[in-house]
């Protein structure tokens, strides 16, 4: 079943394109990582999918409905981010008590156990929470809704290392016990890639890659060796990244293909993080180009 369907989705802010023709489909019961650099359009996309803001053009469907102002989408999806707002007068305990009337699959037991585990104070007010505690509470809330479509926008911002790794573990445990469609955006692909089935890489408001994590890991290879040999091997190829290592050796990343074995050149794997970084980089040499 297709949970999200976007066709040529566009969104402009004051004439600046945040989304510039996004097209992809998300199938149900997968954990997908939404990856992109700052300003790529991740947050805008998630807000449109959650129905918080409206697209300018193109088509967007969540559970086959237009998400904006749609009750079915609101009841079956949640967007967890650092801007989640709850009534200022409610304590954390009040919020958890009110939640089941909005989310029919709400798991009060899970919410209570996680609340205790992370030692949150039930009498605390949400708007008074520290950055880390707020991120933790919002994550608990998001997991406990058991929404068919659960979206996280940079959920680990503000969390310390231990809480981050607990969060990813809790997310996986929950997903195994109650499969749902999870879309999670992050700057830190490496720390969550073990959880992901698919990667949706966006850059400048467009989809660059939408593949399984395993495919992304095998997307590119790095050639390292004598400058002239590396240059010869990569002459007619689409080079994703290039770096002069020392006076006679070069490092070049190209799309993976067979029969590259040549003496004097070693072939290395390229991590998913590096593939995403190279594919969204303005300069093939990265920051080193600036200092040439």
């Amino acid at each position: 079943m297709v949970v999200i369907d976007c066709q040529n989705l566009q969104k402009k802010y004051k004439g600046m394109a945040a989304l510039n023709g996004i097209t992809f489909q998300l199938e149900d019961h997968k954990i997908t990582g939404l990856i992109g650099r700052n300003g790529a359009g991740k947050t805008t996309l998630l807000k449109i999918l959650a129905g918080f803001i409206r697209e300018n053009s193109g088509e967007v469907r969540v559970f086959s409905n237009k998400p904006f102002n749609n009750l079915r989408v609101s009841a079956n999806s949640i967007l967890v981010d650092d801007q989640m707002s709850f009534p200022d007068s409610l304590t954390l305990a009040d919020i958890l008590e009110a939640a089941p009337s909005f989310y029919k699959r709400w798991d009060a037991g899970l919410a209570a156990s996680l609340f205790d585990y992370f030692r949150l104070n039930p009498k605390q007010l949400h708007f008074k929470l520290s950055k880390g505690a707020k991120a933790t509470f919002n994550m608990i809330f998001g997991l406990a809704t058991r929404c068919e479509l659960t979206m996280f926008d940079e959920p680990t911002n503000g969390m310390d290392e231990a809480v981050r790794s607990d969060f990813y573990r809790a997310l996986l445990k929950e997903y195994i016990a109650y499969p749902r469609s999870i879309l999670i955006s992050s700057h830190h692909l490496a720390e969550m890639e073990h959880l992901l089935e698919d990667i949706l890489l966006i850059h400048k408001g467009k989809v660059v890659l939408h593949q399984s994590l395993e495919e992304v890991k095998e997307y590119a290879v790095a050639l390292q060796g004598q400058t002239d040999i590396v240059e010869k091997l990569t002459a007619e190829k689409d080079v994703l990244h290039i770096k002069q290592l020392d006076s006679h050796r070069k490092y070049a990343v190209i799309k993976k293909e067979d029969s590259l074995g040549v003496e004097g050149v070693t072939i290395q794997t390229v991590s998913a993080t590096d593939v995403c970084m190279f594919m969204t980089s303005e300069r093939k040499g990265g920051i080193d180009d600036v200092f040439k």
Partner: protein, 132 residues
């Protein structure tokens, strides 16, 4: 349980190898059920789809077989398939490394073959001596 996330070996291959090692160590016997994709996902802290890919490889190699709705089981000839495969792969890799090193040292093919024959002879002599 930890996998090597930095290894050049994909995670699903590492999962397949872990199950193979369990079979070799006879922690899974033939016709016994192995971990499900969800148990593996929990155990190794990975996405269940990745774990499933590891299981699928073993089904394709006929080391495991699928019983609909029941799970994956060790094939009766599973262990011998793994041993056979590892012998072939390990030997081939070592032969490749041997050839590469010989080339770097400008050892000719005949010299290399003679070296192997010598080593084999030593082993045979040792075996014969041991038998006496």
């Amino acid at each position: 349980m930890n996998l090597n996330a930095d290894s050049t070996k994909p995670i699903y291959i590492q999962i397949a190898e872990w199950i193979e090692n369990e079979i070799i160590a006879e922690r899974f016997l033939s016709d016994e059920k192995v971990n499900s994709q969800y148990q593996l996902a929990d155990l190794f802290n990975i996405n269940p789809a990745t774990a499933a890919k590891g299981l699928t490889i073993l089904v394709e190699e006929q080391i495991l077989y699928k019983k609909r709705g029941l799970g994956m089981f060790v094939a009766p000839e599973g262990k011998s398939i793994i041993l056979e495969k590892r012998r072939n792969e390990t030997l081939t890799r070592m032969a490749m490394e041997l050839v590469l090193e010989a080339r770097r040292l400008s050892v000719t093919e005949d010299e290399l073959i003679n070296l192997i024959k010598q080593e084999n002879k030593k082993c045979e002599e040792e075996q014969n001596n041991g038998g006496n």
